[in-house]
């Protein structure tokens, strides 16, 4: 029982950055702007948060810095792909490279710790919150451990990420903005002829994407870890992208997909050095590669046809 709770608890924590990044991508891609720069934006956010929190001693200032850094990159992506109608993939790749290079360079020149930011301690990072009643319920069978061990005791960004799932669902399917967002990703000409600005709509979507990536980055360096390390996103942005496709661009499916990827990672960590019956000890590398292998397998055909937003990746030009 304890083991299950532990693995699930770790699943929740590992899923959080994926969830934030995948939801970020959802807004952007639903509007018709493909974004493979989730990784770069997250990395920039993580660095900005780690650096700012270390310098000013507050995770909240770190979060603000992360939002600003990630937002700046999102605006560049928006400008390149919406205003000047550039290639969205190229712009995304460029953002990933810039983020990887710039964080290492600035980290080294500012802190001289080989690209890392100074370690954070105590109130410099987001700490676990004990939900009311967790202590009291602790000994109630089943509910107690689940509430105390799994639901309670995460930092605020985790709760924010999971809250964003129903919020995103509501925004996308129940609001005017959401209706227009979905429409502009499918047929921007229909939106344009309805008298709505395609450009403004897409900018807003990409900006939301930038903000959520910023939160994901801040989570990595000031909540999940206690410092920024070089290239600490380690492909999480791409896994989030895979989760988004796997989830067919639907918010509730995104939750499921991210939990699945998070669980694999958690299980992988747990399995390290454990000898399995019949198989023996599984090499660490293989276990660590599991989420990535799964990504390939799932995307290669297990999910059926994932139909992306029809106008995705295509800059909008007025035609007669």
């Amino acid at each position: 029982m304890d083991l299950v709770i532990q693995v699930l608890d770790s699943t929740v924590r590992l899923s959080t950055p994926l969830l934030l990044a995948a939801l970020a991508g959802l807004y952007s891609e639903r509007s018709g702007v493909f974004d493979i720069g989730l990784e770069g934006k997250m990395l920039a956010g993580a660095f900005a948060a780690g650096a700012a929190a270390a310098v000013w001693g507050s995770p909240w200032i770190g979060l603000l810095a992360a939002l600003a850094a990630s937002l700046a990159m999102a605006v560049i992506h928006a400008f390149a792909s919406i205003t000047v109608r550039g290639n969205q993939i190229v712009s995304g790749v460029a953002i990933n490279f810039v983020a990887a290079g710039l964080t290492a360079l600035l980290g080294q020149s500012w802190f001289g710790m080989g690209g890392r930011t100074p370690p954070l301690s105590g109130g410099q990072r987001f700490n676990p919150i004990t939900l009311p009643g967790a202590e009291a319920l602790k000994d109630v069978p089943l509910i107690g451990p689940i509430y105390e061990g799994l639901i309670s005791g995460h930092n605020i960004l985790v709760y924010f990420a999971f809250l964003m799932v129903p919020v995103t669902w509501w925004v996308v399917f129940r609001t005017r903005f959401g209706l227009r967002l979905r429409a502009v990703g499918e047929n921007p000409a229909a939106v344009d002829t309805a008298g709505i600005s395609v450009t403004f709509l897409r900018y807003r979507a990409v900006i939301i994407c930038g903000l959520l990536c910023g939160v994901a980055g801040a989570y990595l360096s000031t909540a999940f870890n206690a410092q920024f390390g070089q290239n600490m996103t380690a492909g999480k942005g791409f896994i989030a992208l895979a989760a988004l496709i796997f989830a067919k661009w639907k918010p509730l499916n995104v939750l499921g997909a991210c939990l699945l990827f998070g669980f694999l990672e958690a299980a992988g960590i747990r399995l390290q050095g454990v000898a399995l019956p019949m198989i023996g000890q599984v090499p660490v590398q293989l276990v660590q590669a599991l989420p990535y292998i799964l990504t390939v397998v799932l995307l290669a055909g297990f999910i059926g046809k994932a139909i992306p937003p029809k106008a995705g990746g295509v800059p909008y030009t007025k035609e007669r």
């Binding site: 129940r174 609001t175 209706l179 499918e186 939106v191 344009d192 002829t193 309805a194 008298g195 007025k318």
Partner: protein, 531 residues
């Protein structure tokens, strides 16, 4: 002028002048060096149906886009109901009561009808109330105009006729008083088109003003009150429809006399060239699109396949041409089978004398960014005459292209020009020249005049008849019933993948229309969703 008279009469409280619904004064618009609209003056009276007719590229769509705020005029004034207005975007046009039904529907294909209707007119940040409001408003509009559509249906599952109805409802929902329809009947069956016209007449009775843009002369005569003819960016004439006729309008459109009827003698069919036996073709979703189709085409005759788009004609043509693999059946070319159920080989077909003018010239017939001369040998580029060892013989290709340009009157006569820069009619001539000049024994032609101007249509039809008279077997697929009736010697009607009847070209339009809608002779059995 009415205004001035009223002002002068001023003190005497003369009867209020009736302003036209729309008045355009001196509208001009250029795209780079191209003058799309030149000094256009147009008056559209309230409560009338005003037709605007002209060839492709005459500037009709540009003019309407200016009116709808999609483009800005370089100069000129727009008056709506007598008041000068500046329309800087679709939102303003909508606010002024202008609604537009675009040729390519501006609908979100995976949204419901209701969602499409409220898009841009939600009236609040949260959708729930908007949905309820739209639903009751939609019911009212449907009752008033007799246009039923299920509000919860998904657009892509609706037939095009209904999709168009959604577009009209969208405009009415926004309170449109002036409705612009751009080539509305291109995708409709004759019955659907008739229903559309009834709706338009009803709208006119309610006092709405309608502008109908089309290149079909028959529609202008059938429904409009007034008609303006555009040619090369100018309005060359405006007439009362009752006081003009088809020949006069065609002449105004093209700028010279046009022969609207195809002159052709009797066919003298020879031996069977192409024999299709029990051909069955499925599409990529494994839905049977062509269902056990059997027919022959003989030398010296034109067999026309009529039908509403999407009833399997495209797949039939592609299977015979070797582009699409058939599920079963046989096709004999000159008595010898071609492997239609195997992997297709269009190149081998060409070698055996089967030429194909594909339905969609942009996707299958031409590589638009290529130069004209390159497109004029596409598919035949491995022929000795175009080769110089392993290399292309550029001079031979260009000289060959120049000869075709002259023979087919392709304009502009420049074989180095990018194909995308030719008009639709001239692009089609490039494809026709390429396929016809190979002297094939069997010619498959899909939609020979889709998006082609009246002047070029005349030319293309003449060439097709010439090919027939030279003893070629021709299989013609077209969604234009008029075209089939005037060219074909025998008409096969396709519905839902089957050939549901064979008629002579003398058969009435009504009879063919019923067949095309899947209604069998006499029995009155409905097979489709005819309007």
């Amino acid at each position: 002028m009415a205004e001035k008279a009223a002002e002068e009469a001023g003190t005497g409280k003369a009867p209020k002048p009736v302003h036209p619904a729309i008045e355009l004064r001196g509208i001009s618009k250029s795209f780079g060096p191209v003058k799309a609209n030149r000094n256009i003056d147009l008056r559209v009276e309230r409560g009338t149906i005003h037709g605007i007719i002209g060839e492709n590229g005459a500037g009709k769509s540009t003019l309407m886009s200016i009116l709808y705020g999609f483009y800005h005029a370089d100069s000129g004034d727009i008056l709506i109901g007598g008041k000068p207005v500046r329309i800087t975007g679709s939102q303003e046009a909508i606010a002024l009561g202008i609604g537009m039904v675009h040729q390519h529907f501006m609908l979100v294909h995976n949204f419901s009808v209701l969602e499409n209707i409220i898009l841009g007119a939600e009236g609040g940040n949260v959708l729930n109330s908007a949905r309820t409001r739209a639903r009751s408003e939609l019911e009212r509009l449907e009752r008033e105009y007799d246009m039923h559509v299920d509000p919860d249906a998904i657009i892509e599952e609706l037939p095009v006729g209904l999709q168009q109805r959604v577009e009209i409802l969208k405009a009415l929902y926004r309170g449109a008083e002036i409705l612009i329809l751009d080539e509305p009947t291109g995708v409709l069956t004759p019955a659907e088109a008739d229903h559309l016209f009834r709706i338009l007449e009803q709208l006119r009775e309610q006092g709405k003003t309608i502008i109908l843009i089309t290149h079909k002369l028959r529609e202008i005569m059938a429904i409009t009150d007034n008609v303006s003819v555009m040619r090369r960016g100018e309005i060359v004439a405006t007439r009362k429809t009752a006081e003009t006729n088809v020949e006069q309008l065609a002449e105004l459109m093209v700028g010279r006399r046009v022969l609207l009827r195809v002159d052709k003698g009797k066919a003298s069919p020879g031996e069977t060239k192409l024999s299709v036996q029990g051909l069955t073709v499925a599409d990529s979703r494994r839905v049977t699109m062509v269902d056990a189709v059997t027919f022959d085409v003989r030398a010296g005759e034109i067999v026309g396949i009529a039908g509403v788009a999407g009833n399997g004609q495209s797949e039939l043509l592609e299977a015979i041409a070797g582009i699409r693999r058939a599920k079963q059946g046989k096709v004999l070319l000159d008595g010898r089978p071609i492997g239609v159920t195997g992997p297709g080989d269009p190149a081998a077909m060409r070698d055996r004398g089967l030429a194909h003018v594909p339905e969609d010239r942009h996707h299958m017939g031409l590589v638009l960014p290529f130069e004209e001369n390159e497109n004029s040998i596409l598919g035949y580029h491995t022929k000795q005459q175009y080769l110089n060892g392993p290399l292309l013989d550029i001079d031979a290709i260009r000289n060959d292209a120049k000869a075709k340009i002259e023979q087919y009157d392709i304009r502009p006569p420049d074989c180095r020009l990018k194909t995308a820069n030719f008009s639709g009619g001239n692009q089609q001539k490039i494809v026709l020249a390429r396929e016809m000049e190979r002297d094939p024994s069997v010619l498959l032609i899909g939609q020979p005049t889709r998006g082609v101007d009246v002047g070029a249509i005349e030319f293309i039809h003449k060439r097709i008849i010439e090919m027939r008279d030279a003893g070629k077997a021709i299989l013609l697929v077209s969604v234009e019933l008029d075209e089939i009736r005037s060219l074909a010697d025998r008409i096969l009607v396709m519905f839902a993948g089957r050939i549901v009847g064979e008629r002579t070209p003398e058969a009435s339009e009504g009879e063919l229309g019923l067949l095309m809608a899947g209604i069998q002779d006499g029995e009155g059995r409905t097979g489709g969703r005819a309007a």
